[in-house]
């Protein structure tokens, strides 16, 4: 995913989404401080980081280049 020519663009878009979710949860907490809702946002953020930044899919990919 992130190894192709658009790798820099992909990680930047994911970073922007993570930033928006972080700022969003800050303001959401003030208006509607639901533990379930805030943990759901945290879960969504963690999935993005684990997949796009930590490249968890490399674990089960049969071939790799380095």
């Amino acid at each position: 995913m992130a190894e192709n020519g658009n790798a820099y663009r992909t990680i930047f878009i994911i970073f922007l989404v993570l930033g928006a979710l972080t700022v969003g949860e800050f303001f959401v907490a003030a208006a509607y401080p639901s533990a379930f809702f805030l943990m759901a946002i945290a879960l969504a953020k963690s999935v993005l980081i684990v997949y796009f930044f930590m490249h968890v899919y490399r674990l089960w990919r049969p071939e790799d280049h380095h």
């Binding site: 992130a2 190894e3 790798a7 820099y8 990680i11 930047f12 970073f15 993570l18 930033g19 972080t22 700022v23 949860e25 800050f26 907490a29 401080p33 533990a35 805030l38 943990m39 946002i41 945290a42 953020k45 963690s46 980081i49 684990v50 796009f52 930044f53 930590m54 490249h55 968890v56 490399r58 674990l59 071939e63 790799d64 280049h65 380095h66």
Partner: protein
Amino acid sequence: MSAVTATDHHDHDHANHHELSPMQQLRANRLAIWLFCFSEIFLFGALLMARFYLWGNTRPELDQNLGLFTTVMLLVSSYFMVRAEVAVAKGDTKKFERSLIVTFVLGLLFLLGVVLFEWGLMANPFGHHEALKPTDGAYGAMFFAMTGMHAFHVLTGLFFISVVYRNGKMGWYDEKNHWGVEACAIYWHFVDVVWVFFYPALYLIGTVVH
């Protein structure tokens, strides 16, 4: 004596037979660091569960601006870490080194923000909240247990980053071989993932108890 020699030969052949190819070794390394991260989930998960058990739907009064600042620092550092990993995979040494330096500086800012200001070792530049103390009952105990354990992992991550930077300077990594960078990146992002859950648990969830 001859029997010993024969045994040695047998062990040597056995070892050669089971020697991993570079690809197998890389996959084993990846599995190992992911298992390490998985084992760490139990530690941080237990702290998170203890927070919800002891605090319930309440939380201590903490500086929201400082909390958001440190969170953003760690998030941006995670971005620069993955940027460094992409750069080394593309053979862009300069971008790799610059990104790693930025990652280190932002990680250090996070650490200083938590340890110096949130722990009350120095006056908080973001506000005038009285700092929580470890002796402040369940609130103080959980706050220092969670931030302390996480800060220790950030500290070890910073050490890891500095080792990878030094190795990069010595030319140990290239487009094909950069497992050290990948391992460091996975560890650093894991530290970020932990904070993704700790931030709302400490700063956002529940009503403030004065």
